[in-house]
């Protein structure tokens, strides 16, 4: 029974990683940049939700919507002021700017919300948990909600990028920005939309993360952000099903490492996975191998 419980905890943690990784992968796949501030957008989303529930007394659903809206706007603003001026700059400059944005968000949160941790109220408090095998195995409502959200988001994004006009425009930009522009696609607007969607997802991830692991601090998003990045690389960065698969696998690896190897080594093992993947299959589990002409 311990094994099953650990497996379920792993899937639950992995689903949160997966949703964060989906945001990473969207932005990387289309804008071709690593948005290291993504983890901190998660934190901002969680704070917005926390404030709406605790200070404004809004319902969880309304708070989540507010949080998604807030993060979407934040994502567009970050893209506009920090990344857009660097559209033709080397990717290293963009990467460093992203790290700068990450620190900016963390420290702004530190000034506004102070560093003492907040206890995040679960958004699914009213839903009961499911008990199996006569109460031996208990699956919390938040676990079920997280897993379902993860599947829904993954399917939604796949549909969006393959079927809708805007989604196709995004894929076109990803393949060749210049050619896309010649075909009449507004590249700037499309990339802004990618950030909007990625940040909206980050808000959902933040709310789910903090509902399952209820402490909220300005640094809350940092570690999950980096682990989700690892998950995105594991699954094949740029690939939507890959991010979901990588996230879930990484969550299971982390929990199993904690349970059967040792809590001290869990993080080391998680990041060792990143190294192994980069050595053996740099394109990730579901990534495409591309040949580049030099």
């Amino acid at each position: 029974m311990g094994f099953l419980t650990n497996l379920i905890n792993g899937i639950s943690l992995g689903s949160v990683y997966a949703i964060i990784a989906l945001g990473y992968t969207m932005v990387y796949g289309i804008a071709k940049m690593l948005n290291f501030a993504h983890g901190d957008v998660i934190m901002v989303g969680a704070y917005i939700c926390y404030c709406s529930m605790s200070y404004l007394g809004l319902s969880p659903l309304l708070s989540i919507l507010l949080s998604v809206a807030g993060c979407t706007v934040l994502g567009i603003l970050i893209e506009h002021f920090a990344y857009k001026p660097l559209r033709n700059a080397p990717s290293l400059s963009v990467l460093i700017t992203a790290i700068g944005v990450s620190y900016l968000l963390q420290n702004t949160a530190l000034i506004i919300m102070k560093s003492d941790p907040k206890v995040f109220p679960s958004v699914v408090e009213d839903l009961p948990s499911v008990e199996l095998f006569g109460g031996e195995l208990r699956i919390q409502a938040i676990t079920i909600v997280t897993v379902l959200t993860c599947i829904f988001v993954m399917l939604g994004l796949t549909y969006f990028t393959s079927r809708t006009k805007l989604g196709k425009a995004m894929r076109a930009c990803s393949e060749d920005k210049g050619a896309a522009q010649l075909m009449g696609i507004n590249v700037d607007m499309t990339i802004s939309m990618v950030f909007a969607i990625g940040s909206g997802l980050a808000a959902i991830a933040g709310v789910l993360l903090c509902s399952a692991y209820p402490t909220l601090m300005p640094t809350t998003g940092a570690m999950p952000g980096i682990k989700a990045f690892t998950a995105a690389v594991l699954g094949g960065i740029g690939s939507i099903p890959g991010a979901a698969l990588g996230g879930v696998l990484l969550g299971i690896i982390e929990i199993f490492a904690k349970a059967y190897i040792g809590t001290e080594l869990a993080d080391a093992i998680v990041f060792a996975v990143l190294i192994v993947v980069l050595l053996i299959k740099p394109s990730g589990l579901l990534g495409h191998t591309t040949t580049e002409k030099v």
Partner: protein, 407 residues
Amino acid sequence: MDLTRMSRRGFLQLAGTLGVSTLLGGCGSMERRPYTGPTDPQKVNGVFRIGGIAPLTGPAAIYGTANRDGALVAVKEVNDSGRLKLELNFQDDEHDPEKAVNAYNNLKDWGLKALVGTTTTGPCVAVTDETNADGVFQVTPSASSIDVIGGVEGSNEPAKHNVFQICFTDPNQGTASASYIAEQKLADKVAVIYNNADAYSTGIFNNFQAKAEELGLNIVSESTFTDDSANDFTVQLNAAKSEGADLIFLPVYYTPASIILQQADAMGYQPKFFGVDGMDGILSLEGFDKSVAEGVMLLTPFVATAHDERTQRFVQAYKELTGSQELPSQFAADGYDCVMAIVQAIEVSGVTPEMPAPEICERLSETFIQPDFVVKGLTGDARWLETGEVDKSPKGMIIKNGVYEAM
């Protein structure tokens, strides 16, 4: 042009600050300017200047503000009664050793003659090095590591004879917890979850384990976490549950403890929980559902709901001072006892406020270690060993209906 001038001035300031701090921090007592504080009777005017350092903002602010407010209650009581004239100046260290040393330097500019602080162990070790070199008498309300006083077995620091503790040392907390659990027969199978990246947590655990072995207490599961993984305890709780532990010992601070309690509740696991002084503060955590802490036990020397007159008078004064209905924690009582112990020692030794700080320090330290020097404080009748450790007996507390009660 302005810009260059500005930045050059900025650079000089920076260089100046760096230079001064290297001089103070790096060269040790050899090149240190002897510190006396103001010694002109006219200027001193019969007022004892007592400095205070505590984290008033940041992650440990709950402890620090409680220390400060407790000390303020004591100062007001002493000044009102006319026993002595005290002036208290509290500085923020944000639970950061470097900022704590800066705060101490500010207090030297102000002219402190004795120090109350600091609240947490890391900053306190840094400050005690400074006070020891300067010869400033220091009593810490709650920094419980043996490195704070130095010179005892297992400590990494040399003995600092100017430093005394109001709280128990970490080893004593671990030993006392194991004895309490064994004596009261609270559990057959004990699990421990501790932070192995934290000296406080590991120190208590090691001594708990040693004592538990001696008393035949059965530890069935011990699991760890680090500051980076302090948001998910499902694995540790599962391990404890599958081993059938009926008590979990938590030598950790209140933030991880709050998550452990919530996750145990969510998974429907209801063992007894037993904490130490770091657990105190959990009821003041913003947004925390107090019902999951129901029945949590902790060893602590102070209970605000105790019915004796002195506790009640303190609680009343504390509420008036803070203007809130929140009951004072153990840390507030520690702060109060700090000031009261210093005041009692001043009266016994007969030092006067215009004496130089090192002389005051020497005489107060001698007074503290006299066998007949007993401070009847809120946190128990305290005596001090030559090392600076306190000798008093802990009380068990239990959380009932969202407040602490004596067990």
